[in-house]
Symmetry: C2
Subunit: 330 residues, 2 copies
DNA sequence: CTGAAAGCGCTAACAT
DNA sequence: ATGTTAGCGCTTTCAG
């Protein structure tokens, strides 16, 4: 089996608590024996069992990350930022994907706690469920949520403002008949962005009509299908706000396949600013989010909670979204 | 703190070994007490400590995954497949990204073993280092490697064949001056694909010249920069084989920015067939890999090794790549 | 069927 | 400075 602390103790004829002390840099061992121990451990290829250490120390140097979909570059970049920040603090991450499914999410939440992760970073799969998070005592931080009444930390972009900026841009460019494609209706980010959209519409004397909002999936295909539904519904459309870039990409695909020229016939705006949106062949106008930074911030905030820094107050960080005008709006 | 097996034992006035038996579905408890125990555990919100279980059982139901870059959709889809297959077997994954850095990779390899993962799935950061894997006794599987002389399992696509097909396609379409953009020179997949390219060239009476191969990074920007270098080097170029789709996307970007029309002035082919390659605005000709399936297979093969199925022989699985002709080659 | 006790590998008092 | 011991939470003999 694996070499344990006892093996190297026996080898050297010292007690194994000395080994522990030496290897963990604690005082109580002479410099000489410390060196002998370190050398022997190295030579024998000793690897401390983190399971055992975690059991006694009650820490695992591990955090769980639950996101809906790793293939969405938005989450990909966030995870990238999390991993980077985690590495600097000696943490590893359990990556879990919920597929926007609340049950899968709950399941992972349970497993993560059984694995005794030190903290959890989560993007809720749906809106309704997440008030139940308050019963979780593990340090936890929620991505992209700003609501009150919960105990956990929150870091995210200002979605309402983002939705406002996007819609306002459409309106300012002369589009008067925008439609909106969101994810599932109970998705928090979607609804917040819609609230912002409504505010912009109001400023231009317009209202948000129900039949101008379509639900889909947060994927390219989801956007394409929803666009088809909208354009075939008979309403007048001169622009579409895809609630994320993947959806907007699907809209672009629909337009392309159906001879609608962008940005003349229809203007398209997305949200997130994933890297593919900037390709010269795409040039999607969108709302930029600092995704990598968001990931780093997420971990760092969680880390502080884990280590018990800065008291018990809930911390909320709200990042500003930014309009990036490219070629899909006139 | 967290409630333990002892708490529920005390609550019920039974020994805690009975709790263990009941909760793990082992025999040796009457049906009646089992039900009482299950009910109490549920009521008290008992969550077994997997760290402790892992310590005694010597299993963690965890595997480590080390990939170079989660933002490359090629790896994204693989990871997706791994997570999906792992979930079915009750496994969680530690996601580690090496950033194509061998030292980072080694570091993670060490940590993973300390965390006592049951197995490791790895895409080596570079070529030279990976023979050192033979000293690792943890079940391990290597992505996309077919070489002999190692003890670990291997699952991947036939890169030589893929490189051959891609280059042959270019040649068959009348391109006679292809250049090649690879990742770092010591990358295994790159060199294998180049071997295939050479074979195709030979069939057309051509040879692979050193100055027609450029090194870059496996990113869009890497492809763009390498393309610029190549096109400015004064050699004749009528087509480029990007060793992965991200690089090919960068080449497309370079062409777009420099008024080179594709596929007339220059033909472009990639490798991987990431989803963005199929966008109507992109339509990249490429070599398809079954990435999701690859991920599933990776985990399932590893799982068998962990569970000690099918003896000790090294298993190698080689998937067939497939040419997908779109619009970037004439 | 059930309980007592040992031990997984390690850390942290407590002794010496 | 070093060794001894208890115990982290759990599983698994071994008795009863």
């Amino acid at each position: 089996m694996n070499i344990t602390i006892k093996d190297v103790a026996k080898e050297l004829g010292v007690s194994y608590s000395s080994i522990s002390r030496a290897l963990n840099g604690k005082e109580g061992v002479s410099e000489e024996t410390r060196q002998r121990i370190v050398a022997a451990a190295e030579r024998m290829g000793y690897q401390p069992n983190e399971l055992a250490r975690g059991l006694v120390n009650r820490i695992s140097n591990t955090v769980g990350v639950i996101i809906p979909d790793i293939l969405n570059p938005y989450f990909g970049e966030i995870v990238n930022g999390i991993i980077e920040a985690a590495k600097q603090k000696g943490y590893n991450i359990f990556l879990c994907t919920s597929g926007w499914n609340g049950d899968t999410e709950s399941e992972y939440l349970k497993i993560l706690r059984q694995k005794r992760v030190d903290g959890i970073i989560i993007k809720p799969a749906d809106y309704s469920r997440d008030m139940a998070y308050d019963t979780i005592t593990t340090p936890m931080i929620i991505i992209d949520r700003q609501e009150d009444g919960e105990i956990h930390n929150k870091v995210g972009v200002d979605n309402e403002q983002g939705g406002y900026i996007a819609t306002r841009h459409l309106l300012e460019r002369g589009y008067r008949h925008p439609v909106f494609i969101i994810g599932q209706e109970d998705n928090y980010s979607s609804s917040q962005r819609l609230v912002g959209a409504e505010r912009a519409l109001k400023e231009f004397g317009l209202t948000l009509e129900k039949n101008r909002v379509a639900e889909g999936w947060f994927t390219i295909e989801g956007g394409r299908v929803a666009a088809a539904r909208l354009f075939n519904s008979g309403i007048e459309i001169d622009s579409v706000f895809g609630i994320n870039d993947l959806i907007a990409l699907g809209v672009l695909q629909y337009c392309n396949e159906n001879g609608l020229s962008v940005p003349e016939d229809v203007g398209v705006i997305g949200f997130d600013d994933i890297s593919y949106a900037a390709l010269p062949q795409i040039q999607l106008t969108t709302i930029h989010q600092p995704k990598h930074q968001l990931g780093r911030l997420l971990f760092e905030t969680l880390y502080k909670e884990i280590k018990g820094f800065e008291g018990q107050e809930q911390t909320k960080i709200r990042l500003e979204p930014q309009l990036v005008i490219r070629k899909t709006t006139r």
